[in-house]
Structure formats: C-alpha cells, structure tokens
Amino acid sequence: MSSNSAPAAHASTGPDISGPVMPSRNRFRLGFQWLSIAPFIIFALMFLAAPTVSLLVQAFTDRAGNFTIENFRGLASDQIVSAYTISIQVSAASAVMGAVFGLLIALALIRGSLPDGLRGAVMTFSGVASNFAGVPLAFAFIATLGRLGLVTLIMRDVFGFDLYRTGFTLFSFWGLTLTYLYFQIPLMVVIIAPAVDGLKREWSEAAETLGASKWHFWRYVGLPILWPPFLGTLSLLFANAFGAIATAWALTGSNLNIVTVLLYNQIRGDALQNPGLGAALAIGMIVITSVANVIYLVVAKRAERWMK
C-alpha cells in the first residue's frame, strides 16, 4: 500500500547524507551495513528457505534417489484426501466465521457508540485471547463442552438437553471449529480495528447529506474500503487454523484425522512408511496456505483498482 511511495521519499534524502563523506569511510560503512543485514539473511536462508527447499527436493525424490512425481500421486490415497478435506473445512469455516464475527464486534465497538471504557477492555481481552491458543485452550474447552464439561452437564441436568446425544463431540468438525473461533475472532478484532477506525465519521455524514441511506453507505463506501483488509485477515486466519496442531492434539490425541496430526505422526515415526510421501504432504500444506494468500493478493489488487 504505502510501500510504493516510501522508497521515493528516502531516495531524496539519501545523497545529502552520504555526499560529503570521505570515500574510505564510505567503504567502511558499506561493510558495516552488510554486516548488519547479514545475520538476518543467513537466518532467513538457514531456517526458512533451506528447510522448505530440502522438503521440496525430498518430495520429488524416490527411495533410490531418482526424480519422481510418484509421491504426489500418493497424496490421492483415501486417508490423506480426507485429512486434507477436514483440515480445509475446519480452517475455512473458522476463518470465515471468525472474520465475520470479528468484523461485527469491531464495528459494534467503534461505530456503535458504546461507552469508551468498553472498547479498551475488549481490545485488551482480544490481545490476550488471540494468544490463548494451543494446549490450554483445548483444556478450557474440554472443561466446558467435553463429555463431562460444565456446560454439557448443566444443559443435560437443568435443560434436559443432552448435547452428546445429538452426535456432537469436541473432536468433530463443529467442535474443532467452535474451539478455533476462540482465537480466530479476537485475532480478527485486533487486526481489523485500525481499518474500521479509518472509516471517518465525515464520510457517513457526507453520504447522508447526499441522500444516501445506511445501506447505500455500507454498500458503496464502508464495505468496499474494508474489503481488502478483510480478505487479507481472512487468508491469515485460514493459514493460522490450517497449521494449528497443539489444540487439536490436546483435544483428541492422535485420533483426529486432520493433515497436521497426520504429518506430526509422520515426523514422529514415519507413520506413512514413506519419507517422500511425508515431504509431499508438507509441500501440499504450503501450497494450500500459499493459494489462500495468492487469492487474497489478486482480490486486493482488483479491489484497490476499483477503489480509485
């Protein structure tokens, strides 16, 4: 967004500073400069690029060390396809619901003329809750909606409604989605709030003066402006849920057939009995989260062009 204008602004101040400096010091500074960036580059190569490339190579290599695409054919097995399917369903559902509810909460807080103190409290809570993921979150939901969870028992004993007789379990699609929403919604609130703040009050007043209804304002001004950050956060939430394992693992142990649990078991003890297939499984995960981000970039580009 602002990255286009930033280099130009810096370029104009650049020569002024380095102009009067002696050439020898300049070379020294150049050395220092690269020395400062080198750790970052080395780190990125060693811990981001190299592991990914190594998995990519492995995914295209068979046991004898020759090039093959057989590993990716192997992904078509029933177990793996269903693991990917459940993972994508849970991630998509929790991302979309998290994004929509998060946006609604942000709108209510910022444009609903609620007391000021409430906003601060909700933002602080969102900061905490978006980081309250993983194992402790699973424990909290087991204590709440597990078979012996407090809410389950109260619903059964007080309202005579046995949740588990309806086929609900925490390990099912809805159970997992409901649990993931606990960190997805707050994350959306934290990220989208600045964008909602950016909708100036003057704009709705201007629209009203021109005879626009509330619906017109949101249809032609509000939502188009919120659309790119909304989609951006949506893809982030998707990747967030798709890569999550700690919550699912603590909820269910190794029973749940989602792709992260499958890969975890593969890393632990070669559960698929084929290292190449494991690498292909991992590469498949990167492809899916990347696709989510590419979709966002394309839509955001179109939305930006349309906004001009």
Partner: protein, 262 residues
C-alpha cells in the same frame, strides 16, 4: 441512534457469552477436585509437581535466549534497511510474513531433515545443539511479531535525523546503533519481547518433536493423565498470557513519540 446502539449491544453481549462462559466453566471445573466441595486442591497438586517448575523455567530460559537472538538479528537489519536500502523493505516484509504462511510443523520437519545428527550441521546430534535449534525455531515463529514491533518503533522515531546528528558529532556506527537507536526503540522491542515470550511458553509442536522438556509438552502429558489439573493449568496459562499482554499495553503508554510525520 437508539436502534444503532441496540444492535451493537446485542453483538457485544453474544460475544461476551461465548468468550466468558468457557473461562468461568474452566475455573469452576478446576475447583471441583475434592468431591462435593469447591477447593483449590488441583492448584496445590499442580504447584507441588516439580516438573511444572522445571518445564516452565526451561521455557522461560528458551524464551530469554530467543528474545536476545531476535533483537540481535532484527534490529540492525531493520535499521539499515530503513536508512540505506529502502528497496529491500518489501523483501523483508515478505520474508518476515513467511512463518505465518509456512506452518510451524512443516518448518520443524525441514529442520529435522536438514540438521539431523548425520548432516553437515548436526544440530540435533547433541543436547546443546538441539537447544540452539529450538531457540532458532522459536525465533522463526516470533519473527513476524518481532519484526513488526521493531519496525513500528523505528517509524515513530526519526532515524535519519538522529543518525545524521550522531555522525556529525563523530559517533561510530556501533555507537549509533547501541546508544542512540536502540534506547529509542526499547519500548517497542520490549513489547515484541513479551509477545515472543508468550509464544515460546505456549509452544508445543517444535519442542515435542525435538524432544525438549518445555512447558507445552508437559501440559499435554498432564492433560492425558489427570482430570482436574489441566483446567487449573489452563487458568494459570491464561494468567501468564494476560501478564505478558498486560505488560505490552502498559509499555505502549511509555513509548516515545518524538517523531515528525513519516
């Protein structure tokens, strides 16, 4: 306007139910260890387990090293890229977003492949090597947050003017970085540090696959073997997270606001 406020209240009320009920339920559940009465027995049980303290302390140690490493790697890089190589900024933004796109599980899979005991850098061949690998892995997870915290800090101070002024006064590059830039972004770095700490303490996947006794794997062990202690641990973890986030909020008030418009 009246109607406008009503829908806002309804949304907030629904959200409050969804977010507060599990907390209350977990808390009450954690108090029911002794049959028939509410008691803090499960907390007593947790705090009398030496593994609770050893694993928590171990995670804190890993977190401290992660923060130091993160600061040493990120701060100089962000500073020079902002000052001299702004064309590199989009690349840096992209790189620091990668840990959010590549799942942690996939990264650790790559590490185990690449740095096993028979490889050219056998990190996992020794305990200390595995610890170093764990620290680097945690730093990868924290990179997006650390980068953004430092970058925001740099944006609020005018590093061009500060650097020029220091250079005119004869300061060396190292002096500028350590005694002028760093103190000015210290508050921002601290907020990144607390976020890093929260991430490291909650981390399960990497530590468990590297077989290191951090807090995350300890929690899972308790979760599979005990009934009431997990809820007590969930409440304790929530308080720890709350503490870390509370520190960030508190620090935000002390952030220097000396900058001109960026």
């Amino acid at each position: 306007m009246k109607q406008n406020r009503l829908w806002a209240w309804i949304i907030i009320a629904l959200a409050a139910i969804y977010f507060i009920v599990p907390l209350i339920a977990t808390f009450i559940f954690s108090l029911r260890m002794r049959r028939g009465v509410l008691s803090f027995d499960s907390y007593v049980s947790v705090f009398s387990d030496p593994r609770f303290f050893s694993s928590f302390g171990y995670s804190l140690g890993i977190g401290a090293f992660t923060i130091v490493l993160g600061v040493l790697v990120v701060v100089p890089a962000v500073y020079y890229v902002r000052l001299r190589m702004p064309w590199l900024r989009p690349v840096m933004e992209f790189v620091t977003l990668l840990p959010l796109v590549i799942p942690a599980l996939v990264l650790v899979y790559g590490y185990i492949r690449l740095y096993n005991s028979s490889s050219w850098i056998p990190f996992t061949g020794s305990v200390i090597g595995t610890d170093i690998l764990l620290i680097c892995a945690c730093m990868t997870l924290a990179l997006p947050y650390m980068y953004r915290a430092v970058d925001t800090g740099m944006r609020t101070i005018d590093i061009n003017t500060l650097t020029e002024a220091a250079q005119i006064l004869g300061a060396s590059q190292w002096t500028i970085l350590s005694r002028i830039v760093f103190p000015n972004i210290f508050v921002a770095v601290l907020s990144g540090a607390f976020l890093t700490l929260a991430i490291v303490i909650g981390e399960f996947t990497i530590a468990s696959l590297l077989n290191r006794p951090t807090f995350g794997p300890y929690l899972v062990t308790v979760g599979t073997n005990r009934a009431y202690e997990p809820s007590a641990l969930a409440i304790i973890s929530l308080l720890v997270t709350w503490g870390a986030m509370g520190m960030i909020q508190l620090l935000a008030r002390f952030a220097p606001k000396t900058a001109r418009k960026d």
